[in-house]
């Protein structure tokens, strides 16, 4: 037993030749977020507080697909979603379709704590945000030039497809690889456990590049992108549609509970066997203080630390 924390900045087709100017700021951000998460755990903050504060930090960083830096819908707008779950009580909160709320994860927590509901979306969620007095800002705050470029390239690639007069493919290759090689899919998330075995998880995202307006992904769906109970806490990232079908986050916990698999085995099974290759990654911690970070994509921005002193920050598979 002991505390443990893991966080991610998105899984996807992150090319091995990612230039330093794209790699270093993200690595630095992961390190910074890991440090503040670890410090909070050492100060006996609850795992629920820890995951919220780490995800807020990731949302504020424009290099990740959440909060500022969220990818754009097909209309060039931002629609953010987030979800938080307390493993001890299984209380949870989720939001979708946010356009002006600076920290979606904190609004999700307010839905959990201040309403009789679990999930609020779009206009209703924005109205709730105003009622609660959370920080809101102009919609343009979240939009970065990188994402404007990503959207442009995604649309150009789509146009090419249409020129070939092929129907919209149903198979998951909706992402287009951008010239600069950045992954199109991503999300941020954090899972934590204290030395009493209390677990919590939080996930936040802007969704898929060029997504249809109103599209909801796996992040705010309890059991898909986010889940925590007495066994483990999980935050997933990747192709939302695949993670929903495979109920990724719930299945990791279910395999531990019903088949007695270890955290590592359960995560490996779900990522290896249940979600198609190139679609999913996750970070998870167990009540016993174990941690695992697994993905079936080229890479996943990630970091973790445990009380016994182990820590890791990485992007591609560890050798």
């Amino acid at each position: 037993m002991g505390w443990a924390i893991a966080l991610h900045g998105g899984a996807g087709d992150i090319p091995l030749n990612l230039p330093p100017e794209r790699r270093e700021p993200r690595e630095a951000a992961l390190r910074h977020c890991l440090d503040i998460g670890v410090a909070a755990l050492k100060h006996n903050k609850s795992p629920l507080d820890v995951v919220e504060l780490v995800v807020r930090e990731l949302e504020n960083n424009p290099h990740f697909n959440a909060g500022k830096g969220s990818v754009l819908t097909t209309d060039g707008t931002v629609e953010m979603e987030a979800c938080i779950m307390d493993g001890r009580t299984k209380k949870c909160g989720a939001v979708s379709g946010l356009t002006t709320v600076v920290n979606a994860i904190s609004l999700a927590r307010l839905v959990m704590e201040k309403t009789p509901h679990i999930y609020l979306a779009f206009d209703g969620a924005e109205a709730f945000a105003r009622e609660q007095g959370v920080e809101t800002t102009d919609k343009s705050h979240f939009i970065t030039s990188e994402n404007i470029e990503r959207l442009k390239q995604a649309k150009e690639a789509n146009r090419v497809q249409i020129d070939y007069t092929q129907p919209i493919p149903k198979e998951p290759t909706k992402e287009t690889t951008v010239a600069d090689g950045d992954s199109q899919i991503g999300t941020v998330g954090c899972v934590a456990v204290d030395n009493q075995g209390n677990l919590a998880t939080a996930t936040s995202t802007g969704g898929l590049v060029n997504k249809m307006v109103g599209r909801i992904g796996d992040t705010p769906i309890i059991g898909a992108g986010t889940y925590a109970n007495g066994f483990c806490a999980v935050s997933a990232t990747g192709k939302g549609e695949s993670i929903i079908q495979a109920t990724v986050a719930r299945d990791v916990a279910a395999l531990m509970e019903y088949k007695g698999l270890s955290l590592e085995e359960a995560a490996a099974y779900v990522v290896g066997e249940c979600a198609p290759k190139g679609t999913a990654g996750l970070v998870a911690v167990s009540a016993k203080g174990e941690v695992t970070m697994q993905f079936n994509t080229t890479g996943m921005f990630r970091a973790c630390a445990t009380e016994d002193g182990h820590s890791e920050i990485a992007i591609w598979p560890s050798v």
Binding site: K90, K91, C92, A94, S96, G97, K114, T115, P116, H117, I118, Y119, L120, A121, F122, D123, G124, A125, A127, F128, I168, K170, K174, L208, K211, M212, V213, G214, R215, I216, G217, I221, I222, G223, A224, Y227, G240, E241, I244, Q245, A246, T247, R250, D251, A254, L255, Y258, K259
Partner: protein
């Protein structure tokens, strides 16, 4: 074993004082919809088509809380949601915040089959509906007198009791006549209101499918999403089974109820009825809910931990039953 099977529901958590005529109307409606499903199965329609067509029928009738007859938001409007899942391949589609689409379950199916996504909501869902040319009507079409009355009642109770900004310790001195104030998610929520419709089917090829549709909670906050459109919570189907849930949405979400039935079958090797019983007993904590399920082997099962669930089921060997209480 084997052969087709179908189950439908019109909501769990029934007012124990429901007048007999209303009970009869409910049973007739359930019987009619069940028969529509049975005919479709006898014509060899695949399960995904059958669940959609049966839920469309339930949505069109104002008796239950879906489509026409949906519960009202706190503003007196209707915001509908639905989801559908096809066991083979676990394809899925869902919609939320639908306000003009006559059949939300059919829109959910179109999301599954004609969009690159699994879930569309609010203005994006409405826009998609227009692009697809589905039948749309004014929001007023869905609103019934019954529900306007229920909303009024819920609001009267709410302003004294159930407003979540007001602490609960005023409950015992309140003068509003509420027989059994409901507590949901730790907070008092609403008076009795019907709750969701759903259908699960396994066809003679052993393919399972599930669909659920609802107007949500009476007097819900604008933008509130419940369990019905959430894959794994209100709806789930895979190779082994098809499940549709109803009841306290928040409890169903926390318990990932629909996925849970399939997970205990898959990972614990439980049979269908055992899985349903286990999940209802162990996975609901304080929550009140019910569910219907079919297995690839042609079995049908249901379970609930509240007072009644409107339901019906039938299997290929001629078994057929419609009920409300135990």
């Amino acid at each position: 074993m084997g052969g087709w099977a179908i189950a439908i529901h019109g909501g769990a958590g029934v007012d124990p004082n429901l007048p007999v005529e209303r009970q009869e109307t409910a049973k007739q409606l359930l019987t009619r919809c069940l028969n529509i499903g049975i005919s479709a199965l006898r014509s060899s329609l695949p399960s995904i088509d059958v669940v959609e067509l049966v839920v469309r029928e339930l949505e069109a009738d104002p008796f239950f809380n879906s489509g026409r007859g949906s519960a009202l938001t706190t503003k007196g409007t209707v915001e509908m949601e639905a989801s559908i899942m096809d066991g083979p391949g676990r394809r899925c589609g869902a919609v939320s915040g639908v306000s003009t689409v006559k059949s939300p379950v059919s829109l959910a199916r179109l999301v599954m089959e004609k969009s690159p996504h699994s879930y569309l909501a609010f203005s994006g869902a409405e826009e998609f509906a227009r692009q697809q040319g589905v039948e749309t009507v004014d929001n007023e079409y869905f609103i019934t007198e019954d529900n306007v009355g229920m909303l009024k009642l819920a609001k009267e109770a709410n302003t004294i009791l159930f407003d979540y900004r007001i602490p609960t310790h005023g409950l015992d001195t309140c003068s509003a006549a509420v027989d059994s104030p409901l507590v949901m998610n730790g907070l008092p929520i609403s008076v009795y209101a019907p709750e969701t419709v759903g259908c699960v089917v396994v066809d003679s090829k052993g393919r399972c499918a599930a669909a659920t549709s609802t107007g949500g909670l009476m007097n819900k906050m604008m933008g509130r999403i419940g369990d019905s459109p959430l894959i794994g919570a209100g709806t789930y189907a895979c190779d082994l089974c098809g499940v549709s849930c109803t009841g306290e949405g928040e409890a169903i979400i926390r318990g990932t109820l629909a996925r849970e039935v399939a997970a205990v079958m898959e990972y614990k090797g439980l049979g269908l009825q055992q899985a349903v019983d286990y999940v209802v007993k162990e996975r609901l904590d304080q929550g009140k809910a019910g569910l219907i399920a079919v297995s690839k082997d042609g079995e049908v099962a249901f379970g609930y931990n509240c007072v009644g669930m409107f339901r019906g089921c039938a299997t290929e060997d001629g078994f057929m039953e419609v009920g409300i209480w135990e």
